[in-house]
Symmetry: C2
Subunit: 252 residues, 2 copies
């Protein structure tokens, strides 16, 4: 099994390292920024490639992990590659590869950041392929990384990605807003870290609607008014406070 | 040390059990709903009390954990009690007790739900008291429960509570919206649980603004448009999607 990594961002880096850790050989790394390809290649004992024309044509899998809107253009440069070509995007349809012979999607439903190790063993790896044989090969590789391998259509994958934006990206932004409120009052983010951990922990064994707490779900008008008063000079935070409180009230 | 618990909701229950676990004696439990007082009293080997007039007058601490707007009224019935009277609210000023001789606040900055055990040892316990002697007694009790005992003024506590609404209550509501999106498309909430856990985990050692990911922070217009299209029949989710995406973009 020989894999070529196309891209050297957070997702490419984490997948490449995880593959290397289970002894899958990564032969080459290409990136728009050669220095990034060099950095990643160096970490996983692969060769950094400057020009797409230099790519091995006989790798088993070409894993494209670049910005969504760059995938279609990249595909044009891979016509000589004989292996399976996959991307790792949550929202790009598998049709982007329609002119190829063996292709698929290898979407890890997880958030990746630089310098933050991630345990791959329970990451949902959402796979899609153009035929059964290709899917079997992708399943084989994915199951070396994770116990949570799923077959997911392009349509369902888009939904997963959208739900992930709410559950992860928006959630992290709310953490950032909490930090903004604390900082403005000389309080450290440290104080709410246990709360953040427990909030995520609670829904590991319950549905979020069952464990909603706070002034909005109690319709505690007095507290809500106090909070709105505290936010009166931060109109953006106030708008978000009102919008989300109203939305919570409707679930009562 | 003898404690009386006034209230039998989530916060009262969790604190009472935690006190019992470190061998602090709970003598009585009172609640607006006698059956709730009975249930809690039974769990912690205390006596349920029907009428406030039956309360021990010689307990060391009276811990009031009821709805915010009920605290002031309750205080009127505690004039014969000789111990320290505290409430557990994030947003009620310590002044609510101004006519008493020994009083304070015992605010656990955590989210509590029925049937979900919580590890008290790292919960920030935010204390406030009318004098040094009272504070020392509260600190003594709090430090038996947690390694994270803080002295916090009423003003700062209100800010903490507001930040907690963003970091916990709103975050949980975003999880619920993610679940709504998944359910509408016959996908299980299970699939995004690892993502939720990792999102909270990432900010335990980083600031949220440093680890923001997703289409809005990348200004990935194409993906944002796809998501808005997917939400076109769910106007409330669409509004929240737009509001939070715009807010994230401004942090670039």
């Amino acid at each position: 099994m020989k894999v070529v990594i196309i891209g050297a961002g957070n997702v490419a880096t984490h997948i490449a390292k995880a593959l290397k850790a289970v002894n899958v050989q990564i032969s080459q790394v290409w990136s728009y920024h050669y220095e990034n390809a060099l950095l990643l290649a160096n970490e996983i004992n692969a060769i950094a490639v400057k020009d797409l024309a230099e790519l091995d044509n006989d790798a088993d899998i070409y894993l494209i992990s670049v910005k969504d809107d760059a995938i279609a253009e990249l595909v044009k440069h891979l016509s000589l590659c004989k292996g399976i070509i996959v991307h790792t995007s949550g929202s790009v349809n598998i049709d982007v590869f329609v002119d190829l012979t063996a292709y698929g999607v290898f979407y890890p439903l997880q958030t990746f950041s630089k310098n933050k190790e991630v345990d791959f063993s329970n990451i949902p790896l959402c796979l899609e392929a153009n035929d059964g044989k290709t899917l079997a090969i992708l399943k084989d590789v994915a199951s070396r990384l994770s116990n949570n391998v799923l077959e997911v259509s392009s349509e369902k994958r888009k939904i997963l990605h959208l739900a992930a934006v709410f559950a992860c990206n928006f959630t992290n932004h709310l953490y950032a807003m909490a930090d903004e409120i604390l900082k403005a009052n000389e309080l450290a983010f440290d104080i709410i870290r246990p709360l953040i951990a427990e909030t995520a922990n609670k829904v590991q064994n319950a549905l979020p609607a069952e464990v909603q707490t706070g002034p909005a779900i109690r319709e505690d008008k007095e507290t809500i008014e106090k909070h709105e008063e505290l936010l009166k000079n931060q109109p953006e935070l106030l708008e978000i406070y009102k919008t989300l409180s109203e939305s919570i009230k409707k679930t009562r």
